[in-house]
Amino acid sequence: MSQFLQVFLSGLATGSIYALVAIGFTLLWQAAQTVNFAQGEFVVVPAFFVLVGLHVLHLPLWAAVALALVLSLLVLGYLFKKLVVGPILPAGGISLIIATMALGILLKESIKEFYGAEAQPFPALVPQDPLNLFGAVVSMQDIMNLLISLGIVVLLTQFLNRTRTGRCMQATAQNPAVAEILGVDVKRMVLYAFLVNAALAALASFLITPVYLAKFSNGETLGVIAFIAAIVGGFNQIRGALAGGLLIGVLDNLTATYVTAEYRAALPLVLLIAIILLRPQGLLGTSEGRTV
């Protein structure tokens, strides 16, 4: 039982970080019909911004993290929107999918060439002491990761539902033409969605990198898992992406411990195929009447 609790909690902690990435993913989809295949790399890049701040510019940790956040907003938010999505979106979905894949390769290889191919240790932002909880040994880090990610999700939901800007963003996602008629600055709202995505990716990066070390190729699995979480939960819902992320994190850990470690990576994929075929709108999603 204590082992189960341990596995369950650490799965929940990783799952909550997946959820952050997945939420960014769904935001981009809603705001700009962009399926970002480079999302995994987006979670790796901010960690290396921090490392550059620490080891090249010799900044203190907090300054390095702040710098990384600003750089992420600039590069992964603004420049991504202006240089990649903006020019290519009119050419159609498939072109954009391929462009983001190419961007993923570009980011990954740039990290490898300009920083290094080895896994880099990354300073933990939260205490790592083990914690005894009902007989299970849980790391403080897991609990903090879970709490911080859930806190971010709550803040984001509040922002989207309670503030004027947030509601304008929702209106843009639902119907850009009508939103424009009602006086919403649609272009600005789309840009906000890209910035929020970049911020979420950066936060996820700061939380997950101490667990996995910083390595240029981490993005491959992260990206796929974020897509799967987004689709499983429901592509058009923030709470769907949250549920999907938590579900995948827990299931992944449970399978690896109790069923098969060899086919661990297969479980989310099978789940994905089953969900797409049986309930394409996702577990919590609502049908959009689009050609899904």
Partner: protein, 327 residues
Amino acid sequence: MTITTWSRHLLIGLMLVAAILAPVGQGNYITYVLTSWLIFSIAAMGLNLTLGYAGQVSLAQASFMAIGAYSTALLTLAGWHWMLAMPVGLVLCFVVGLVLGYPALRVQGHFLAFVTLAFNTLVFLVLRNEDWLTGGNYGLMGMPRPDFGIFKTMRQVDFYYFTLVVTVAAALVMWAIVRSPWGRAFKALRENPIRAESLGVDTRRITLLAFAIGSAYGGLAGALVTSLVQFIEPGSFSLVHSLRILLMVVVGGAGFFFGPFVGAAVVILLPEVLRFTEGYYLIIYSALVIVMLAFVPNGLLGIGAVLRERFWPSRQRADMAQGAKLK
């Protein structure tokens, strides 16, 4: 025959002559690169049918190469002749492709991309974990090359010519498919599925066929890879390679008959050209792809159309233009 068909025939003839002369006087390595260009052209040709003509995204072409490669490898290792083993792989890919086509009946676009992506990874995991059949991470090696008595393909250059013959045959079959009623139905499916259905095209059957035939081409490419490299392992058929094949189709020009050949040439040969840039090769390459997608979304073969549209814009009746947008 009109002048344009004449010039086209001339061009195809010249390309064939170039393909025949290409390995003359070259070392083994260059011949090897040229052979893998032909093989990937076949795989990309299959994906071009699925994506370019029928409009169905697939990120699983490498897994069909894997199915073709492993089945051919296992059978040739068991003593079968390549010419007998290859069709088995083809049929297997056709059937699996038919099954993979079923999700496409329900989902489209990026959802389909994810299903096929998941399929590719599942095939990779099976290849890696089922050691008793596939040799696991170590893969299979020592597969014999096809041997036709007087024409043995053990020399690299001989195998190149063998691959060239297979490629030309595959291209002719593809030409026939694209020009057949099926080919028209594929295009109709891509342009407007609902209109295609209302005009009597059985879209279910056509979607499945687009996947199955495209997959069989992947299987053929896999069967050739087995003989070319004589060593196969799961890593050669991972998702990255599906992406590479997709890139070939898009870079060459999806929906153009010769697109896959151009695309495969760019993807396979560019590393050789950009070798002097060493580690920066992939960075430069992916940046080029993004730039290309921004300016010529139809691929390299689409450059002509873009230029023509810029300098001699075509006139279209406004009502026709509106009608084309109706869904």
